[in-house]
Protein backbone atom coordinates (compact mmCIF):
# COMPACT_ATOMS: atom_id res chain seq x y z
CA UNK A 1 0.00 0.00 0.00
CA UNK A 2 1.37 3.43 -0.97
CA UNK A 3 1.77 6.04 1.73
CA UNK A 4 1.64 9.82 1.93
CA UNK A 5 2.31 12.35 4.66
CA UNK A 6 0.31 15.59 4.56
CA UNK A 7 1.09 18.55 6.81
CA UNK A 8 -1.49 21.09 7.92
CA UNK A 9 -4.22 18.47 7.60
CA UNK A 10 -6.60 19.84 10.26
CA UNK A 11 -8.72 21.70 7.73
CA UNK A 12 -8.77 23.27 4.28
CA UNK A 13 -6.64 21.85 1.49
CA UNK A 14 -4.76 19.51 3.83
CA UNK A 15 -7.96 17.84 5.04
CA UNK A 16 -9.28 17.59 1.49
CA UNK A 17 -6.04 15.95 0.34
CA UNK A 18 -6.38 13.40 3.16
CA UNK A 19 -9.86 12.46 1.92
CA UNK A 20 -8.62 12.21 -1.67
CA UNK A 21 -5.69 9.94 -0.89
CA UNK A 22 -7.73 7.73 1.44
CA UNK A 23 -10.13 7.34 -1.49
CA UNK A 24 -7.19 6.31 -3.66
CA UNK A 25 -6.17 3.58 -1.21
CA UNK A 26 -3.17 5.28 0.37
CA UNK A 27 -2.07 5.02 3.96
CA UNK A 28 -2.33 8.67 5.00
CA UNK A 29 -0.22 10.20 7.75
CA UNK A 30 -2.00 13.42 8.60
CA UNK A 31 -0.09 16.17 10.37
CA UNK A 32 -2.26 17.71 13.08
CA UNK A 33 -1.51 21.10 14.61
CA UNK A 34 -4.82 22.64 15.71
CA UNK A 35 -6.17 21.24 18.96
CA UNK A 36 -9.62 22.79 18.54
CA UNK A 37 -10.23 21.08 15.20
CA UNK A 38 -11.47 17.47 15.33
CA UNK A 39 -12.32 16.99 11.66
CA UNK A 40 -9.31 14.69 11.20
CA UNK A 41 -10.39 12.45 14.08
CA UNK A 42 -13.89 12.32 12.60
CA UNK A 43 -12.35 11.21 9.30
CA UNK A 44 -10.19 8.64 11.07
CA UNK A 45 -13.24 6.98 12.60
CA UNK A 46 -14.49 6.23 9.09
CA UNK A 47 -11.17 5.04 7.62
CA UNK A 48 -8.51 3.04 9.43
CA UNK A 49 -5.87 3.96 6.85
CA UNK A 50 -5.68 7.45 8.34
CA UNK A 51 -3.02 7.93 10.98
CA UNK A 52 -3.09 11.28 12.77
CA UNK A 53 0.27 12.51 14.08
CA UNK A 54 1.11 15.73 15.89
CA UNK A 55 3.22 17.95 13.62
CA UNK A 56 4.26 21.54 14.28
CA UNK A 57 6.18 22.76 11.22
CA UNK A 58 7.86 25.48 13.21
CA UNK A 59 9.44 22.98 15.61
CA UNK A 60 12.44 20.81 14.66
CA UNK A 61 11.72 18.35 17.47
CA UNK A 62 8.11 17.92 16.37
CA UNK A 63 9.27 17.07 12.84
CA UNK A 64 11.75 14.53 14.23
CA UNK A 65 8.99 12.96 16.33
CA UNK A 66 6.79 12.70 13.24
CA UNK A 67 9.63 10.95 11.37
CA UNK A 68 9.99 8.50 14.25
CA UNK A 69 6.24 7.82 14.27
CA UNK A 70 6.09 7.10 10.52
CA UNK A 71 9.27 4.98 10.75
CA UNK A 72 7.72 2.86 13.46
CA UNK A 73 4.38 2.42 11.72
CA UNK A 74 5.33 2.09 8.04
CA UNK A 75 9.12 2.17 7.69
CA UNK A 76 8.84 3.97 4.36
CA UNK A 77 7.07 6.85 2.66
CA UNK A 78 6.09 7.30 -0.98
CA UNK A 79 4.88 10.86 -1.11
CA UNK A 80 5.39 13.94 1.03
CA UNK A 81 3.01 16.91 0.86
CA UNK A 82 4.11 20.05 2.64
CA UNK A 83 0.92 22.06 2.95
CA UNK A 84 0.95 23.73 6.37
CA UNK A 85 1.48 27.49 6.35
CA UNK A 86 1.30 30.49 8.60
CA UNK A 87 -0.27 33.64 7.17
CA UNK A 88 1.82 35.86 9.43
CA UNK A 89 1.07 39.29 10.75
CA UNK A 90 -0.34 42.02 8.57
CA UNK A 91 0.83 45.03 10.55
CA UNK A 92 4.42 45.08 9.32
CA UNK A 93 4.68 48.60 7.89
CA UNK A 94 7.83 50.61 7.13
CA UNK A 95 6.00 53.81 8.08
CA UNK A 96 4.65 52.46 11.36
CA UNK A 97 7.85 51.63 13.25
CA UNK A 98 8.97 49.47 14.81
CA UNK A 99 8.18 46.71 12.34
CA UNK A 100 7.55 43.36 13.94
CA UNK A 101 10.61 41.61 12.54
CA UNK A 102 10.05 38.52 14.66
CA UNK A 103 6.81 38.02 12.72
CA UNK A 104 8.90 37.89 9.55
CA UNK A 105 11.16 35.27 11.12
CA UNK A 106 8.25 33.22 12.49
CA UNK A 107 6.55 33.07 9.11
CA UNK A 108 9.80 32.09 7.39
CA UNK A 109 10.45 29.47 10.08
CA UNK A 110 7.11 27.74 9.47
CA UNK A 111 6.60 28.32 5.74
CA UNK A 112 10.12 27.97 4.34
CA UNK A 113 12.48 26.46 6.89
CA UNK A 114 9.90 23.89 8.09
CA UNK A 115 9.42 22.27 4.66
CA UNK A 116 13.20 21.94 4.22
CA UNK A 117 13.51 20.27 7.63
CA UNK A 118 10.58 18.05 6.72
CA UNK A 119 12.24 16.96 3.47
CA UNK A 120 15.52 16.30 5.26
CA UNK A 121 13.83 14.31 8.03
CA UNK A 122 11.76 12.11 5.76
CA UNK A 123 14.43 11.56 3.09
CA UNK A 124 15.61 8.21 4.55
CA UNK A 125 12.01 6.93 4.54
CA UNK A 126 11.44 8.18 1.02
CA UNK A 127 14.60 6.39 -0.16
CA UNK A 128 12.74 3.19 0.77
CA UNK A 129 9.50 4.37 -0.88
CA UNK A 130 8.58 3.81 -4.49
CA UNK A 131 7.33 7.17 -5.66
CA UNK A 132 9.96 9.57 -4.29
CA UNK A 133 7.61 12.50 -4.82
CA UNK A 134 7.98 15.76 -2.92
CA UNK A 135 5.04 18.17 -3.13
CA UNK A 136 4.97 21.70 -1.80
CA UNK A 137 2.02 24.04 -1.53
CA UNK A 138 3.27 27.55 -2.28
CA UNK A 139 1.50 30.66 -3.49
CA UNK A 140 1.40 33.20 -6.29
CA UNK A 141 2.50 35.80 -3.74
CA UNK A 142 5.88 34.07 -3.72
CA UNK A 143 6.39 35.12 -7.35
CA UNK A 144 8.83 38.02 -7.12
CA UNK A 145 8.42 39.03 -10.75
CA UNK A 146 4.64 39.26 -10.45
CA UNK A 147 4.52 41.20 -7.20
CA UNK A 148 5.16 44.43 -9.08
CA UNK A 149 2.20 46.73 -8.51
CA UNK A 150 0.50 44.07 -6.42
CA UNK A 151 0.18 45.84 -3.13
CA UNK A 152 2.80 47.05 -0.71
CA UNK A 153 2.44 44.56 2.09
CA UNK A 154 2.11 42.71 4.30
CA UNK A 155 5.67 41.49 4.11
CA UNK A 156 5.98 38.18 5.99
CA UNK A 157 3.89 35.75 3.91
CA UNK A 158 5.09 36.72 0.40
CA UNK A 159 8.70 36.78 1.61
CA UNK A 160 8.37 33.32 3.14
CA UNK A 161 6.83 31.86 -0.02
CA UNK A 162 9.60 33.32 -2.21
CA UNK A 163 12.08 31.67 0.16
CA UNK A 164 10.15 28.40 -0.05
CA UNK A 165 10.31 28.47 -3.85
CA UNK A 166 14.08 28.91 -3.62
CA UNK A 167 14.37 26.03 -1.15
CA UNK A 168 12.36 23.74 -3.42
CA UNK A 169 14.57 24.75 -6.35
CA UNK A 170 17.63 23.69 -4.35
CA UNK A 171 16.01 20.38 -3.38
CA UNK A 172 15.22 19.81 -7.05
CA UNK A 173 18.83 20.61 -7.99
CA UNK A 174 20.04 18.06 -5.47
CA UNK A 175 17.51 15.25 -5.67
CA UNK A 176 16.12 15.07 -9.19
CA UNK A 177 19.06 13.03 -10.48
CA UNK A 178 18.42 10.55 -7.65
CA UNK A 179 14.93 9.83 -8.94
CA UNK A 180 12.94 12.34 -6.92
CA UNK A 181 10.16 14.29 -8.58
CA UNK A 182 8.62 17.55 -7.45
CA UNK A 183 5.33 19.40 -7.42
CA UNK A 184 5.05 23.08 -6.55
CA UNK A 185 1.42 24.16 -6.35
CA UNK A 186 -0.44 27.43 -6.00
CA UNK A 187 -3.92 26.53 -4.70
CA UNK A 188 -5.61 29.93 -5.06
CA UNK A 189 -7.83 31.71 -2.59
CA UNK A 190 -9.79 29.01 -0.82
CA UNK A 191 -12.70 29.18 1.58
CA UNK A 192 -11.73 28.50 5.16
CA UNK A 193 -13.02 25.37 6.87
CA UNK A 194 -14.44 26.19 10.30
CA UNK A 195 -14.18 23.94 13.34
CA UNK A 196 -17.74 22.69 12.81
CA UNK A 197 -16.91 21.68 9.23
CA UNK A 198 -18.71 24.56 7.52
CA UNK A 199 -17.00 26.82 4.98
CA UNK A 200 -16.44 30.56 5.10
CA UNK A 201 -18.11 32.49 2.31
CA UNK A 202 -15.41 35.01 1.57
CA UNK A 203 -13.12 33.19 -0.86
CA UNK A 204 -13.29 31.88 -4.39
CA UNK A 205 -12.61 28.15 -4.20
CA UNK A 206 -13.93 25.20 -2.22
CA UNK A 207 -10.92 23.36 -0.77
CA UNK A 208 -12.45 20.00 -1.73
CA UNK A 209 -12.49 21.05 -5.39
CA UNK A 210 -8.86 22.22 -5.25
CA UNK A 211 -7.93 19.12 -3.24
CA UNK A 212 -9.32 16.88 -5.98
CA UNK A 213 -7.29 18.73 -8.64
CA UNK A 214 -4.15 18.87 -6.49
CA UNK A 215 -4.30 15.17 -5.53
CA UNK A 216 -4.49 14.18 -9.20
CA UNK A 217 -1.64 16.52 -10.13
CA UNK A 218 0.58 15.37 -7.26
CA UNK A 219 0.01 11.70 -8.01
CA UNK A 220 0.29 11.75 -11.79
CA UNK A 221 3.61 11.06 -13.53
CA UNK A 222 4.56 13.84 -15.93
CA UNK A 223 6.71 13.83 -19.03
CA UNK A 224 8.84 16.80 -18.05
CA UNK A 225 9.91 16.02 -14.50
CA UNK A 226 13.28 17.69 -15.13
CA UNK A 227 11.51 21.06 -15.03
CA UNK A 228 10.56 22.67 -11.74
CA UNK A 229 7.44 24.74 -12.27
CA UNK A 230 4.79 26.20 -10.04
CA UNK A 231 1.30 25.61 -11.36
CA UNK A 232 -2.21 26.43 -10.19
CA UNK A 233 -5.49 24.49 -10.43
CA UNK A 234 -5.66 25.11 -14.19
CA UNK A 235 -2.03 24.01 -14.73
CA UNK A 236 -1.08 27.62 -15.51
CA UNK A 237 2.64 28.01 -14.89
CA UNK A 238 3.56 30.91 -12.63
CA UNK A 239 6.97 32.55 -13.06
CA UNK A 240 9.28 32.92 -10.09
Amino acid sequence: MRSVLITGADRGLGLSLCKEYLGRGFTVFAGKYMEDYTLLEDLGEKDQNLCVIWLDMGCEKSIKNAVSAVTEIAGRLDMLISNAALMGKFDCDLYAPPMDLEAVWDTFRVNALGPMRLAEGFLPLMERGGDKRLCFVSSEVGCIALMKHRGDGPYPYPMSKAALNMGVRMLHNHLYERGYTFRLFHPGWMKRRMADGSLSETARFDPDDIGRIAARYFDKNLGDEHRLVMVDYSRYEWPF
Binding site: R109, D152, A162
Partner: protein
Protein backbone atom coordinates in the same frame (compact mmCIF):
# COMPACT_ATOMS: atom_id res chain seq x y z
CA UNK B 1 24.58 64.15 -2.41
CA UNK B 2 24.75 62.16 0.81
CA UNK B 3 25.40 58.44 0.56
CA UNK B 4 25.16 55.93 3.39
CA UNK B 5 27.13 52.71 2.88
CA UNK B 6 25.93 50.47 5.67
CA UNK B 7 29.09 48.35 6.06
CA UNK B 8 32.79 49.19 6.05
CA UNK B 9 34.43 45.83 6.67
CA UNK B 10 35.02 44.37 3.23
CA UNK B 11 37.36 45.47 0.47
CA UNK B 12 34.37 46.00 -1.79
CA UNK B 13 32.67 48.30 0.71
CA UNK B 14 35.82 50.34 1.25
CA UNK B 15 36.47 50.58 -2.49
CA UNK B 16 32.90 51.65 -3.07
CA UNK B 17 33.22 54.40 -0.45
CA UNK B 18 36.43 55.58 -2.14
CA UNK B 19 34.81 55.71 -5.57
CA UNK B 20 31.81 57.69 -4.31
CA UNK B 21 34.10 60.08 -2.41
CA UNK B 22 36.31 60.51 -5.50
CA UNK B 23 33.22 61.42 -7.53
CA UNK B 24 32.23 64.15 -5.08
CA UNK B 25 29.63 62.40 -2.92
CA UNK B 26 29.61 62.71 0.84
CA UNK B 27 29.86 59.17 2.19
CA UNK B 28 28.74 58.21 5.68
CA UNK B 29 28.83 55.08 7.76
CA UNK B 30 25.82 54.13 9.88
CA UNK B 31 27.43 55.51 13.03
CA UNK B 32 28.41 58.77 11.32
CA UNK B 33 24.92 59.23 9.92
CA UNK B 34 23.48 58.83 13.40
CA UNK B 35 26.09 60.82 15.34
CA UNK B 36 26.46 63.74 12.94
CA UNK B 37 22.73 64.23 12.68
CA UNK B 38 22.80 64.64 8.90
CA UNK B 39 19.61 66.30 7.64
CA UNK B 40 18.96 64.02 4.68
CA UNK B 41 20.19 61.01 2.75
CA UNK B 42 20.14 60.56 -1.01
CA UNK B 43 21.36 57.00 -1.49
CA UNK B 44 21.15 54.10 0.94
CA UNK B 45 23.61 51.41 -0.13
CA UNK B 46 22.83 48.39 1.99
CA UNK B 47 25.87 46.15 1.68
CA UNK B 48 24.47 43.52 4.06
CA UNK B 49 25.57 40.18 2.61
CA UNK B 50 26.03 37.53 5.26
CA UNK B 51 27.42 34.13 4.45
CA UNK B 52 28.17 31.47 7.02
CA UNK B 53 30.49 28.49 6.63
CA UNK B 54 28.03 26.39 8.67
CA UNK B 55 25.37 27.18 6.06
CA UNK B 56 27.30 25.27 3.40
CA UNK B 57 25.63 21.89 3.88
CA UNK B 58 23.71 19.65 1.53
CA UNK B 59 20.48 18.03 2.63
CA UNK B 60 22.29 14.71 3.07
CA UNK B 61 24.73 16.27 5.51
CA UNK B 62 21.95 17.36 7.87
CA UNK B 63 19.98 20.56 7.78
CA UNK B 64 21.73 23.30 9.75
CA UNK B 65 18.76 25.20 11.07
CA UNK B 66 20.81 27.42 13.39
CA UNK B 67 23.05 28.58 10.55
CA UNK B 68 20.01 29.25 8.39
CA UNK B 69 18.50 31.38 11.16
CA UNK B 70 21.74 33.35 11.61
CA UNK B 71 22.02 34.06 7.92
CA UNK B 72 18.32 34.93 7.59
CA UNK B 73 18.43 37.33 10.49
CA UNK B 74 21.63 38.88 9.12
CA UNK B 75 20.51 39.25 5.53
CA UNK B 76 16.80 39.97 5.87
CA UNK B 77 15.82 41.32 9.27
CA UNK B 78 18.90 43.53 9.45
CA UNK B 79 18.18 45.05 6.04
CA UNK B 80 14.55 45.66 6.95
CA UNK B 81 15.58 47.37 10.18
CA UNK B 82 18.17 49.52 8.36
CA UNK B 83 15.62 50.79 5.88
CA UNK B 84 13.12 51.51 8.62
CA UNK B 85 15.77 53.48 10.53
CA UNK B 86 16.96 55.62 7.65
CA UNK B 87 13.73 56.03 5.69
CA UNK B 88 12.86 59.38 7.32
CA UNK B 89 16.24 60.79 6.16
CA UNK B 90 15.80 59.29 2.69
CA UNK B 91 12.33 60.85 2.42
CA UNK B 92 13.99 64.26 2.89
CA UNK B 93 16.70 63.57 0.27
CA UNK B 94 16.46 64.11 -3.47
CA UNK B 95 18.22 60.96 -4.67
CA UNK B 96 15.76 58.47 -3.22
CA UNK B 97 17.73 55.46 -4.37
CA UNK B 98 17.93 52.17 -2.48
CA UNK B 99 20.69 49.70 -3.28
CA UNK B 100 20.99 46.08 -2.12
CA UNK B 101 23.64 43.43 -2.59
CA UNK B 102 22.68 39.98 -3.74
CA UNK B 103 24.03 37.19 -5.89
CA UNK B 104 23.09 35.48 -9.12
CA UNK B 105 23.25 32.30 -7.06
CA UNK B 106 20.13 33.57 -5.29
CA UNK B 107 18.10 33.69 -8.50
CA UNK B 108 15.36 31.05 -8.19
CA UNK B 109 15.37 30.71 -11.96
CA UNK B 110 19.11 30.49 -12.45
CA UNK B 111 20.63 28.88 -9.39
CA UNK B 112 22.17 25.43 -9.57
CA UNK B 113 23.08 25.52 -5.89
CA UNK B 114 22.63 22.53 -3.60
CA UNK B 115 24.30 24.20 -0.63
CA UNK B 116 23.81 27.48 1.25
CA UNK B 117 20.09 27.14 1.93
CA UNK B 118 20.25 30.01 4.41
CA UNK B 119 21.94 32.40 2.01
CA UNK B 120 19.84 31.64 -1.05
CA UNK B 121 16.50 31.44 0.77
CA UNK B 122 17.22 34.63 2.71
CA UNK B 123 18.11 36.50 -0.46
CA UNK B 124 14.94 35.26 -2.18
CA UNK B 125 12.97 36.61 0.78
CA UNK B 126 14.94 39.87 0.57
CA UNK B 127 14.17 40.18 -3.15
CA UNK B 128 10.47 39.90 -2.35
CA UNK B 129 10.88 42.51 0.41
CA UNK B 130 12.54 44.86 -2.07
CA UNK B 131 9.77 44.28 -4.64
CA UNK B 132 7.05 44.99 -2.08
CA UNK B 133 8.96 48.02 -0.83
CA UNK B 134 9.30 49.25 -4.39
CA UNK B 135 5.51 49.08 -4.71
CA UNK B 136 5.22 51.26 -1.65
CA UNK B 137 8.00 53.75 -2.35
CA UNK B 138 8.17 54.09 -6.15
CA UNK B 139 5.16 56.46 -6.19
CA UNK B 140 7.22 58.75 -3.92
CA UNK B 141 10.08 58.79 -6.46
CA UNK B 142 12.25 55.98 -5.11
CA UNK B 143 14.32 53.84 -7.46
CA UNK B 144 16.09 50.59 -6.72
CA UNK B 145 19.24 48.66 -7.58
CA UNK B 146 20.05 45.04 -6.78
CA UNK B 147 23.70 44.28 -7.45
CA UNK B 148 25.83 41.14 -7.49
CA UNK B 149 29.48 42.17 -6.86
CA UNK B 150 30.65 38.77 -8.12
CA UNK B 151 32.90 38.23 -5.13
CA UNK B 152 35.78 35.94 -5.99
CA UNK B 153 35.27 36.40 -9.73
CA UNK B 154 35.82 40.14 -10.09
CA UNK B 155 38.27 42.22 -8.06
CA UNK B 156 36.69 44.39 -5.34
CA UNK B 157 38.03 47.47 -7.12
CA UNK B 158 36.43 46.52 -10.44
CA UNK B 159 33.19 45.55 -8.67
CA UNK B 160 33.11 48.92 -6.89
CA UNK B 161 33.58 50.83 -10.16
CA UNK B 162 30.85 48.76 -11.79
CA UNK B 163 28.55 49.27 -8.81
CA UNK B 164 29.11 53.02 -8.89
CA UNK B 165 28.12 53.18 -12.55
CA UNK B 166 25.07 50.97 -11.98
CA UNK B 167 23.96 52.86 -8.91
CA UNK B 168 24.37 56.39 -10.17
CA UNK B 169 23.32 56.16 -13.81
CA UNK B 170 19.70 56.41 -14.75
CA UNK B 171 18.61 53.05 -16.11
CA UNK B 172 15.78 54.38 -18.20
CA UNK B 173 15.10 54.10 -21.89
CA UNK B 174 14.91 57.21 -24.06
CA UNK B 175 11.22 56.85 -24.74
CA UNK B 176 10.55 55.61 -21.21
CA UNK B 177 9.34 52.19 -22.35
CA UNK B 178 7.78 50.72 -19.19
CA UNK B 179 8.55 47.16 -20.27
CA UNK B 180 12.26 47.79 -20.91
CA UNK B 181 13.03 50.44 -18.34
CA UNK B 182 15.04 49.28 -15.33
CA UNK B 183 13.56 52.11 -13.32
CA UNK B 184 10.11 50.62 -13.95
CA UNK B 185 11.09 46.99 -13.53
CA UNK B 186 13.16 45.85 -10.60
CA UNK B 187 16.05 43.74 -11.84
CA UNK B 188 19.25 42.21 -10.51
CA UNK B 189 22.50 42.93 -12.34
CA UNK B 190 26.00 41.65 -11.72
CA UNK B 191 29.34 43.44 -11.88
CA UNK B 192 29.53 42.67 -15.59
CA UNK B 193 26.16 44.29 -16.23
CA UNK B 194 24.32 41.04 -16.85
CA UNK B 195 20.69 40.84 -15.79
CA UNK B 196 19.32 37.87 -13.86
CA UNK B 197 15.73 36.74 -13.57
CA UNK B 198 14.41 36.42 -10.04
Amino acid sequence: MNVLITGNLTEFENNLAEVFTREGYKVFTQDEARELGIPRLDYLIDTTDNRDEADRFTLDEGFGGEAVERVFRGNVLRSMALLETFLPLLDKGEGKRLVYLSSAEASINATRAVKSFGYNMSKAALHQFIQLTRNKLAPKGYTFRVFDPMAGEVTPQAAAESAYNYITRRRGTENHDPLRDDEENMVMRDAMGRQYAW
